[in-house]
């Protein structure tokens, strides 16, 4: 099937990514609403989503700003949430590293949870794919997700403060984050990292400037990494 070169991986990517709209859409609306409630105008909210294009980090940054944490703590904590993007970038490099610098620079912006997760799975399953086919699939996974991140942020920003207080939106963020985290708890190392993070965050909640979260994040990362290392040693 010679004509099935670049077009079909693109559509395959679109199809695979389309269901994620159900997660991305509401999450973007939530960010738009909470940002507006925190006092951001539409331009600020949209710039936030355009530049960062990562829901969890945006909501973390927003929450800490609402809590009046110092700017360095806000940045460090929200960036820590996005550190996983560096891991995604590293793991896509063997598959997409051969593309031109401009293509890589453009694709890098669109590395998000969904495009990475779907792409890396397909690339591993199809080692015979050409670079063009891989790129086509990657763009396919981006197309139904990223544009809607902006659109639904705008929807949330416009809805904004019109949502009544009885909706208890203050608790939408904890519920969303819990729902996102729990499926990530795939191994003992992940579970331990999360538990240590919770305990340390609560124990060090008295620290000024929301530094407790940074201490918790560091402790959690070190716990996860150390347990993974020991598990690997035990299997060798």
């Amino acid at each position: 099937m010679p004509r099935q070169t670049t077009k079909s991986p693109f559509w395959m990517g679109c199809r695979d990514a389309a269901p994620f709209l159900l997660v991305v859409g509401p999450f973007a609306v939530l960010f738009g609403v909470l940002a507006t409630e925190a006092g951001l105008n539409v331009v600020e909210t949209m710039t936030f989503s355009f530049l960062v294009i990562a829901g969890a980090a945006q909501l973390t940054g927003l929450q800490l700003m609402v809590e009046q944490a110092p700017v360095l703590v806000v940045l460090a904590s929200a960036l820590a949430v996005n550190l996983r993007m560096a891991m995604y970038s590293a793991s896509l490099t063997p598959y997409l590293g051969g593309a031109s610098l401009w293509t890589r620079a453009f694709a890098a912006y669109f590395i998000v949870d969904q495009s990475y997760g779907l792409s890396i799975l397909k690339f591993e399953q199809n080692p015979d794919w050409s670079l063009q086919e891989r790129l086509a699939y990657f763009w396919g996974t981006v197309a139904p997700v990223c544009p809607f991140w902006y659109v639904f942020t705008l929807v949330g920003a416009l809805l904004g403060t019109s949502i009544p207080e009885s909706f208890a939106l203050d608790f939408a963020l904890p519920i969303c984050f819990l729902a996102i985290i729990t499926p990530m708890l795939r191994s003992r190392a992940h579970i331990a990292a999360a538990l240590v993070s919770i305990v340390v965050a609560l124990v060090f909640a008295w620290l000024p400037y929301n530094l407790g979260l940074l201490v918790a994040g560091l402790a959690g990362m070190m716990t996860g990494a150390e347990i993974e290392r020991r598990t690997e040693l035990a299997h060798d």
């Binding site: 700003m65 904590s77 890098a108 590395i111 993070s197």
Partner: protein, 108 residues
Amino acid sequence: MIDQTTLWIVIVGLGVGSYLFRFGFIGIIGDRNLPPWILRHLRYTAVAVLPGLVAPLVLWPPATGGELDAPRLVAAVVTIIVGLKTRNPLVAIGFGAVTLYGGLYLAG
């Protein structure tokens, strides 16, 4: 209110920083391999930071002035259990929201 200077430093800093994370390896490092211990730590960043952010919000919700609140606490527990059982964020959010609204209604 969020200070305007703080806001723009965070928006731009977070945007630039996140882009550098995304571009760092695919753009600059190329095919060279990273030390395994760095990759090991990177794997756990999300599960290490987000629970620490959420835990105080669950136990001491700002909306109730930091008082432990039964509907919110139960909703959080239900979200965790459903998330672990189904591995499906949407289903977990659904159950969590229904529990929260049900609890708030019962609590009057």
